[in-house]
């Protein structure tokens, strides 16, 4: 029974079936399946989707659909795990968001999805994120990496502003900062004092791993 539930969780993610994923997650809790294994099954599925995306075989609608299916199951399982105190191992904690003024979500969401697929814990703050929310999240979640996105050139200054605030708070050396988005390039990343830049979502994951020595 447990194996069947794990298989169905994986299948629901691969088929972008959010409703199915949440009901199989509830079933896993009810049947007292090893919830860390359930999380592993979900991660396996999203990794498969992420790999396909990296190879150009799977496209954004499926990537995002699978990520949302995973999220709908993960929230149920993690809620239950909190009660037992068990915690899943992750490669690191990432706080991510699109900077203040910029409402572009897709690129940032792609990176977040692929980071989850790679085994990171991702705190996605969404779009139009004010500087102080980034700072607070880095502190609250003890983030290993802060990932900021900006699509439009007029908002790139926001990334520098956040990095300057990290310095003011004395936590710049505790967190790696990566930047990305249509308006960003390598030179800009260096100029604002980021630790790295990647032009695509899969390269963003590789960069994160490299920065954390994973």
């Amino acid at each position: 029974m447990a194996n069947q539930i794990l298989d169905n969780l994986k299948k629901a993610v691969l088929e972008c079936d959010a409703q199915g994923a949440s009901s199989w997650a509830a079933k896993a809790v009810e049947e007292k399946v090893d919830l860390l294994k359930a999380l592993d099954a979900l991660t396996d599925a999203i990794r498969e989707v992420g790999d396909g995306f990296g190879k150009g075989e799977i496209f954004l609608p499926e990537l995002v659909g699978a990520a949302e299916a995973m999220q709908s199951a993960t929230s149920i399982i993690e809620e239950e795990l909190k009660k037992t105190g068990a915690k899943r191992e992750s490669l690191g904690t990432i706080v991510a968001g699109t900077v203040f003024g910029d409402i572009h979500n897709i690129g940032k969401s792609m990176v977040c999805t692929l980071l989850v697929a790679a085994g990171f814990e991702v705190i996605d703050l969404g779009v139009n994120v004010e500087t102080e929310r980034f700072i607070q999240a880095v502190k609250d979640y003890k983030a290993d990496v802060l990932a900021m996105s900006a699509l439009l050139t007029m908002y790139t200054a926001e990334q520098k502003k956040v990095i300057d605030r990290l310095k003011e708070e004395g936590i710049r050396d505790k967190v790696k900062v990566i930047v990305g988005g249509g308006a960003i390039n390598e030179e800009f990343a260096r100029m604002v004092g980021a630790d790295g830049y990647a032009p695509t979502a899969p390269e963003g994951v590789a960069l994160t791993k490299k920065l954390l020595g994973k």
């Binding site: 972008c16 496209f59 954004l60 609608p61 499926e62 995002v64 659909g65 990520a67 949302e68 409402i103 979500n105 897709i106 969401s109 969404g126 779009v127 249509g182 960003i184 390039n185 390598e186 032009p199 695509t200």
Partner: protein, 498 residues
């Protein structure tokens, strides 16, 4: 059957009904008054017996309007082309639009932009690519690389056709020259396919013997006939666009009468295109805005007659390179042809005013063909595509559509994705070597050649093709069209490839 592209809306109509009628009446008047010169005794007698006024001394045939109109009515509105692979049969007519492999005599070297005769291997590769390209619905093996290294001119069409039959399953067309069409027709009949028989007519108002012979050969075999009428305005037809169309339609009508008298009900597809002329050099402009205008009106007239159209608007570019000019001349010409209700568009691979064919260009052109085809298909409007429920479900931001089942179901069908266009974001483009569409097309060519395997001929089919070549070689050697020296070079060229 290859479905091709379906135009799901009214065709572009740039001439009024009154203008069309004036052109139609003008063409009938030309045929009744001046008529057409026909250099063929058997045909002259046939025209005479069918009610035409024939002068056997000047070889002039004056065709009465009633006969023209009767023969126009005899033409089927849809013509089936039977391909070597039955899955690639075509039904030409209606609102269906097909792309046909382009033409060009010589191979274009992409490093030097110079031309040279093509090798056996280069023709074969072009056919394999043609077999693989999804938007190339019809093959044109005979008509490109007509300058072949080592192959005697009288054997080029047949060697090209053999290469096409061997390495591509799609429907073929064929021309005429020194009687070679008879060998091609016989082989096609044995293979159970047909060939769209391309027969030219010289402007103004002349049918030379070869054209008439070929029309007899194709029509008597029951193969569809494809009169090709492409005058140069100001030299071979009046300089005014309307006058050129009158002449083109008059020749079209004469071709139709000839085909229908030979074999009533035989399929006819009209190839057309009026080329403006450079009045300093005398060179025709194979692609031009006025050619698009005359193409649109000719397509309008052919739809009126319910006769399928094969357009040369955008079939080539005047540019010698694969560049911006090449892109816009070909795309704009083909788009107008498609929008105005054409049926077959000669397209992928040809450039430099019929001088060159290039396989990399064919791959790039195939993207354009897909783009045009997608435009023809139009927009599907129904409850599901209107997506009112989806919009209501998603609501304002942070809602979005990327995560909906509706997006996953529809995105591929709704939006056409080019295969080799550079669509990278700037930093990725820089990082991946600043590749342009030409680079991507070169890569795709290598990829297709490494992976695509056309369905091979069966041993029996191979024997038919080989016999066609052997009989033609024997015939032309006896006729003195292949000297001993040419024969030795010819055999060497074939052996070098084996």
């Amino acid at each position: 059957m290859i479905k091709g592209f379906t135009r799901n809306y009214k065709p572009l109509e740039i001439a009024t009904e009154g203008q069309l009628e004036a052109i139609h009446r003008g063409a009938l008047t030309v045929l009744e008054t001046t008529g057409i010169r026909v250099e063929h005794d058997r045909a002259l007698k046939m025209f005479k017996d069918s009610g035409c006024l024939v002068d056997f001394v000047t070889k002039r045939v004056r065709i009465p309007a009633w006969l023209v109109e009767e023969c126009l009515r005899r033409c089927p509105s849809n013509v089936k082309l039977r391909a070597r692979d039955p899955n690639c049969d075509l039904m030409v007519g209606g609102d269906t639009f097909y792309f046909l492999q382009g033409m060009g005599m010589r191979y274009l070297d992409l490093d030097s932009w110079e031309t040279r005769p093509a090798t056996v291997k280069e023709h074969r590769e072009a056919m394999i690519i043609g077999d693989a390209l999804e938007n190339m619905h019809m093959a044109g093996a005979y008509e490109f690389y007509t300058d072949r290294a080592g192959i005697p001119p009288c054997m080029v069409y047949l060697e090209n056709l053999a290469s096409g039959l061997r390495y591509c399953g799609k429907a073929e067309h064929f021309g005429y020259e020194d009687g070679c069409e008879k060998f091609a027709i016989k082989a096609a009949q044995e293979l159970g396919i047909n060939l769209l028989g391309e027969v030219g007519s010289a402007a103004p108002l002349t049918f030379y013997a070869g054209v008439v012979e070929a029309t007899y050969a194709y029509a008597e075999a029951g193969f569809p006939v494809n009169p090709c009428i492409c005058p140069t305005a100001g030299a071979e037809s009046p300089v005014t666009m309307a006058g050129s169309i009158v002449l083109l339609i008059a020749q079209m009508m004469a071709s139709v009468v000839m085909a229908q008298l030979i074999k009533p009900g035989v399929g006819v597809i009209i190839e057309h295109g009026i080329k403006p002329m450079d009045m300093q050099t005398g060179h025709p402009y194979f692609t031009d805005v006025s050619k698009s205008l005359t193409t649109a009106i000719t397509n309008q007239l052919l739809r009126r007659y319910k006769i399928p159209s094969k357009s040369t608007s955008g079939f080539t570019s005047i540019s010698k390179k694969i560049d911006f000019q090449c892109g816009y001349e070909k795309s704009m010409g083909a788009l107008i042809s498609a929008l105005s209700g054409g049926h077959i568009q000669i397209f992928q691979g040809g450039s430099a005013s019929e001088l060159v064919y290039n396989t990399v260009l064919a791959i790039m052109d195939d993207d354009v063909a897909g783009w045009i085809g997608r435009f023809l298909e139009g927009v599907t409007v129904n409850d599901e595509t209107l997506a009112v429920d989806v919009i209501n479900e998603v609501g304002p931001i942070p809602g979005h559509f990327l995560n909906t089942a509706h997006t996953r179901k529809w995105w591929k069908a709704e939006h056409y994705a080019t295969r080799v266009a550079d669509r990278e974001v700037y930093p990725v483009w820089v990082k991946s070597g600043k590749k342009d569409a030409l680079d991507h097309a070169r890569e795709r060519m290598s990829e297709i050649l490494a992976t695509h395997k056309p369905v091979p001929l069966t041993p029996a089919q191979e024997r038919i093709v080989e016999r066609m070549l052997e009989e033609a070689r024997d015939y032309y050697r006896k006729k003195g069209l292949i000297s001993d020296q040419e024969w030795a070079v010819y055999m060497e060229a074939l052996e070098a490839d084996s």
